[in-house]
């Protein structure tokens, strides 16, 4: 087992900076997710740790050892690919045994010892009945398990997973998610998990690094990222449906009154002096779950809007409202009966709003 440290790691492909001065500390035994949209550099980061790419700048440490120029073989990592990369001409047994076979002299294993380990790992993953099959004879979920078994059989220090669930159907994905988490706990192996699915990252990981355009914007626990997204990108990327971002001007500093597109909002929050001036542009971030729809004008409710879209999700619905010239989304209980075109009153939970500097996109409050 080992920790993984990245120190100012940069990787360029020609002029494109795929990974930009990334510094991360991944603890021993941690389940760490790298989350970001496609093309943000998350897979490149994983490949750098694996040793499939070499960094242009910075250092990568595994278990306290700098591995920048080390062959992947000597890094003692195992990787699971999005398409599983099972060897099509080998049976499941040989696929799982492959990492042991290629270094059986180093490890001092004979055929019988290899067989025992393969069967053991296969049993843990519930695929011991499939060992004689070829990969093409397996379902997606079974192939996935074989790929996981192949990555576990060697008992690597670090487990690298590149979107391993994205080729499965929705139901199986949720099931494998739970299994993956319990496997990781069982083996206690340091895991770096790359995904673009925030739900997956939130449910699996101990900590998450959110990446965009080659940079790590925030590292934190799922709660940190949800409650206190330090960057406007993180705010919109974490949570589903995503956070409403409303451009506003500061019209009063003392009570922090904001003039937003077509409506005014008195937040009543007192900021530290000097953070904002009159007339500053800010972005107001409001999570859909903190937007409340009322049919009558109750006390303290000043905003009025019109329902434009209703998306039922089962227990809840996403209701899109036009508010001034903006449209914002609210997550409401299914008990609330509204119709498209109906005028409603809107209450925004001011204590839970987020305020971002319009220029830097960083959290002010």
């Amino acid at each position: 087992m080992a920790d993984v440290k990245l120190r100012g790691v940069t990787k360029k492909f020609g002029r494109v900076v795929a990974v930009n001065r990334v510094t991360l500390d991944i603890s021993d035994g941690e389940f760490f997710a790298i989350l970001g949209p496609s093309g943000c550099g998350k897979t490149t980061l994983l490949r750098l740790i694996a040793g499939l790419e070499f960094p242009d700048e910075g250092e990568i440490l595994i278990g306290g050892r700098v591995v920048n120029n080390l062959h992947p073989r000597d890094r003692d990592v195992a990787m699971v690919f999005q398409n599983y990369a099972l060897y099509p001409h080998m049976r499941v047994f040989d696929n799982i045994a492959f990492p042991l076979m290629v270094r059986r002299r180093e490890l001092g294993l004979d055929k019988e010892a290899i067989r025992r380990r393969v069967v053991e790992v296969a049993r843990v993953l519930g695929i011991e009945g499939l060992l004689d099959r070829y990969p093409r004879e397996l379902s997606g979920g079974q192939q996935q398990r074989v790929a996981l078994a192949r990555a576990l059989v060697r008992e690597p220090k670090v487990w690298l997973l590149d979107e391993p669930l994205s080729n499965l159907d929705a139901k199986l994905r949720v099931q494998m998610r739970a299994e993956l988490k319990s496997l990781q706990r069982k083996f206690g192996v340091t895991t770096v998990y790359v995904t673009h699915d925030q739900g997956e990252a939130m449910s699996l990981a101990d900590r998450i690094a959110v990446m965009n355009e080659g940079r790590v914007l925030q590292v934190g626990t799922p709660d940190d990222l949800y409650l206190k997204p330090l960057d406007i990108f993180v705010a919109t990327f974490i949570g589903s449906p995503s956070t409403n971002i409303i451009p506003c001007n500061v019209v009063s500093v003392e009570t922090l009154e904001l003039e937003c597109a077509g409506f005014n909002l008195k937040t009543g929050i007192s900021l530290d002096p000097g953070i904002l001036k009159l007339g500053d542009k800010v972005y107001l971030g409001v999570r859909p779950e903190h937007v409340e729809i009322r049919k009558s004008q109750d006390e303290g409710v000043t905003l009025k809007g019109k329902v434009t879209i209703i998306e039922p999700l089962g227990s809840q619905s996403i209701v899109t409202l036009s508010l001034g010239s903006e449209s914002i989304r609210a997550l409401t209980s299914r008990d609330l009966k509204v119709d498209v075109g109906e005028d409603v009153y809107i209450r925004i939970d001011v204590s839970k709003t987020l305020l971002y500097d319009a220029k830097t996109g960083k959290l002010l409050l």
Binding site: G51, A85, Y87, H89, P99, R150
Partner: protein
Amino acid sequence: MFRGFLDSMQVIIRIFLTVLALILVFALLYPIIYVVIVSLLVGQTLIISIDAIRMGLTVDRYLGTINDPDFVRGVTMSLVVAFLHIVFSVLLITPAAYAFSRFKFRGKDTILILYLILSQVGGGFGIAALIALYVLLVKLNSIGLPVIGNPVVLALIYTAWAVPFQTWLIKNYFDSLPRELDEAAFIDGASWGTIVFKVILPASRPAMTVIALFSFMGAWGEFIIASFIKVPTVAAYIYQTAAGQTIFWGDFAARTILFSIPVVILFVIAQRYIGEAMRYGAGKL
């Protein structure tokens, strides 16, 4: 009324197309049928006439050929050369194709384009190359290297000949294999040799089958270079026995039929793979 007209039109069209297809098949098969008949005639003649057929048919020509020790030696030699050619192709061309498919290096595109040109231009270019090769072989032999009559040298020449086309074919096939296959093996600690020969090569069975087939056909059918360096392959045997003052057409026909059988059988067996491999950029046979 109109419907009946359409139906009868359809029947006419079907008859027409069937007749057309039969004519086409006959045109394509005509040379083969002709050769088969000539090989079965009692008299050694190239002209098929009622009189010639009336004299009777015989399989003696075939039996004679099969019992000819020179023919048996030729077949053995051809098999040896073809086998060596397949082995050389797989051992030499596959790693090169792998490098072309997976690595970036200086001059890669230039070499690939050169290969493409070389594999497409035939004719005069080929004859010039043949003359140059002949001179080279004679020189090599004159300094004492065992070039003449050496099947290994012949197989190497065939392999060299096949490099441009086969490199492209295998490279294109490798391009279609996911890179993650190599990378998974690479991370697991496999050497390049293991990756190429134990992972990628077995995973590309259609391409390998086609390479083996093309190599076999190339080596089996070629006789000019084989005659040059005096390797008695079966093709060279047929060529040499056909030339002379009098030509024994019946024997010649029987030999060519026997000669073509292995290729036909191989094509039937490997049909499935040929189709698959052809999709990966094999432009010509």
